[in-house]
Symmetry: C2
């Protein structure tokens, strides 16, 4: 595969990713959850299952724990999460989503589904499913750097 083809693929991928991010964020805002930036979504994704510590979150986002702590301050202040004492470790605190945090997560899923529906309209369900499978297979396990 030639360099120019690789560049075309890269450009398309980044353009689609940028637009998707924007659409999800707009969809979340449109559903009544304000004061959130895309980076918060990545944090919610890590908190969603069972909560996480600030240090976990920092590693997941690829930022310092000070930055992660500050981000947690923000979503706590806005009512999306709360800090609880950690059951095993008295130094640590477990950050968990509130009911409002869960509602916001569901809103993000709906917004993502809306965006994907637009792709289904263009490519068909079969192709979009293939797209998903391919992307899942090449997706890395590491931190989700929300910056470029």
């Amino acid at each position: 595969m030639q360099n120019s083809e690789a560049m075309g693929l890269s450009a398309a991928l980044l353009a689609v990713a940028g637009e998707l991010t924007q659409r999800i964020n707009e969809g979340v805002v449109a559903r009544g959850f304000e004061g959130l930036r895309p980076a918060h979504g990545f944090a919610f994704a890590r908190l969603a299952p069972d909560g996480a510590t600030v240090t976990d979150l920092a590693a997941h986002l690829g930022v310092t724990k000070q930055a992660a702590s500050q981000l947690v301050d923000e979503i706590v202040r806005k009512g999306y999460a709360e800090r609880r004492p950690h059951p095993q470790d008295a130094r640590a605190r477990l950050v968990v989503l509130t009911e409002r945090g869960w509602a916001c997560t569901r809103a993000a899923e709906e917004a993502a589904a809306d965006a994907v529906r637009a792709w289904v309209a263009l490519l068909g369900e079969r192709e979009v499913r293939a797209l998903r499978d391919q992307l899942v297979r090449i997706a890395p396990y590491g931190p989700l750097k929300p910056a470029w």
Copy 2:
């Protein structure tokens, strides 16, 4: 398609995009072009064909023209581009890549090709080509927001 599937697709897409961005940037640095951030790559892509004005660049990047002007200052200072008088409009200035800027663009293409090769190793050339076609078809025309 269910919301959770859409979320899985979205997460994979954003993860791949984040990793790709990072890899391209690292590849460019490894080839001897320092002091550049991913956002500069998006600027180079706009400047590459025939140059552009600061206002064009701002629209393309989705930022204010002050921010674009500042970014141009930076790449001019580092020798990747230069400002020329605009042939048709005495208010405007045409920003064009220097030879070093072109070399950097080629380095970015090589780095992108390296990243894509890793995907070919996982999925095979045929699947990667299909991936490219699908992404190109759903890629938007608008500004390339280098932020999420």
